[in-house]
Amino acid sequence: MNSLLMRYRSVLVLIVVLTVVTMLIRANTVWLDTSVVIAIYSLIALSVGISYGQAGILSVAQAAFASVGAYATAIVTARYDLPAAVGLVLALLLPPLIAYPLARLVTRLNALSLAIATLVFGQAFDIILREGGDFTGGYIGLSGIPPLPFASGLLQFHFVAWGAVLIVAVLLSNLIDSPFGRATNTLRSDTLRAVADGVNVPHVRSAILAFSASVAGLGGWLYAHHIAYIGPDSLGPSVSLSVLLMAVVGGAQTVLGPIIGAALLTLLFKFIPSQEVQGMFYGGALIAVLVLTPNGLMGLRTVIGRWMKSSATKRERATANVATGVSAARRAS
């Protein structure tokens, strides 16, 4: 029971915060709209958290996967009048179908080349979307995407979007706490060790990227039905970079980090005075976080915790060491 609480503590925190926030904003359309956008960005940022935070794959193409999900549902619902549920299935399945083979190609690269390869992929995908002609709506994009039948109001959509975030948070908590998750974490820190442990490294890494692409696709699905329009600029390469920023600022290795990052950067944006200096805020925030708390804002927790605990444990350890040292010496003589 206790271990279950531990495993899902992030999810529980999220539920509590969401309940309070929903109570506060339930009547305010603008805040509900902001909340939905945060939920969508959270999903894409979580997909960064999964690939980068868990498996060490810095993918700079996550918005492209979200785009696949958004376009898939836009095409089937707006053009062929199929239900949004069909769009959901496609949005969940198509991105990993693209991501897995891509991952098999790129995950054997070193971390740096991998990041650049995904960046190049994102750019190329952007061009393909624009050149997609009538199928993708080309440069203009697709409009007239119907709202979700069961969530036509903003409040309902708010629940649907955050429900999706909660499901992903649960899955991610499970992943982190599973043997598979531990395997990916091992290969994040030490590839050789993972190989020695019998982990099929290329497969595991690719599977993780595929899973993260599916999560991004879910975000894209929500995006399409919320905004009702999807174009090449909607979830383009610059969004890939923003969600990366969100995940890193919040803490890519945690469940809550990407969500916190998404909320923070989306809100920060509302309060920046002049638009020209916005980049200074964004860039400055990213550098400050990396320098001060390398594991993101969620890392602050451990920094503070460590600082509080450190003196106590130091003393304990010292005495313990003396004891073991003496007994070892006894045995030796």
Binding site: L109, A111, L112, L244, E276, V277, Q278, G279, M280, V291
Partner: protein
Amino acid sequence: MYELLEFSSRGVLLGVTYGLLAFPISLLFIATDTVDLAVGAYAVLAGAVAMFVGGSVNPAVGILTGILVGVLASAAIGSISLMLGRRQKGDPLVLVLASFGFAIFLESVVLTLFGKDPFIRQPFTYFWNIGGIRISPQAGVNVVVGLLLIAAVYVLLYRTSWGRDVRASANNERAALLAGIPVRALRFSAFMLAGLLAGIAGVLVLYTSGMDFASGMHLTLAGFGAAIVFGLHGPLRGFFGGLAIGVVETISAGYANGGLASLVPLLFIFLVLTLGRGGRQGPAGVRA
């Protein structure tokens, strides 16, 4: 056939710019084992400063000030990398992210200080006619500067003790420390040198094709593509990688249509990255 020749030679001239941008990228890779995504931003900053100071004082002062500002900017990211190095050991992506943040920062600085209009200077109003191909004398300047920089970088890296120490620091940091090399200070100096090279590249871009405040990432990617084609480990290879990408880009723009033409160079980089040996994962401790 003649057309192909013209495309290729123009591609080479275009590639010189990319090659110049590849210098700082591969130099930093050699010195610090990571990639600085703000290199293009230094170039834009240097170009913008050169344009404005050059316009109000005189061009030579402008160029020098521009390059100096480029060096200062890269010194800033150098300091950041030192701060990061103390906390984050081993993860080269952290500096990549930080440099990306710095690139956004600088783009915003350039927009705020110098505005959104393109920066460009064109001192030459006549053309050279070489074998029927009209070429701006600026292209000649670029080629000469490029070749001089190749020679300078080569001598510096492979014929001086500074270069040997830089390579040693990147190859085996522990060994460098044990040999008494102040690795951190050396890396910092590599950042300054990269800023110098990026600044020179920026000034040349200003005088060749021009740029605007948002060109930084485009220039970084062009330079990175150039640097990676033949392997990140040698700035000289980066220069020729630049030429190769320039030729691919020009030929695809000349023969393909629309977005496809822009797709080809990207696919080229992607294929080189994934199929080539340059980016493969090496065994731990040994660089690939």
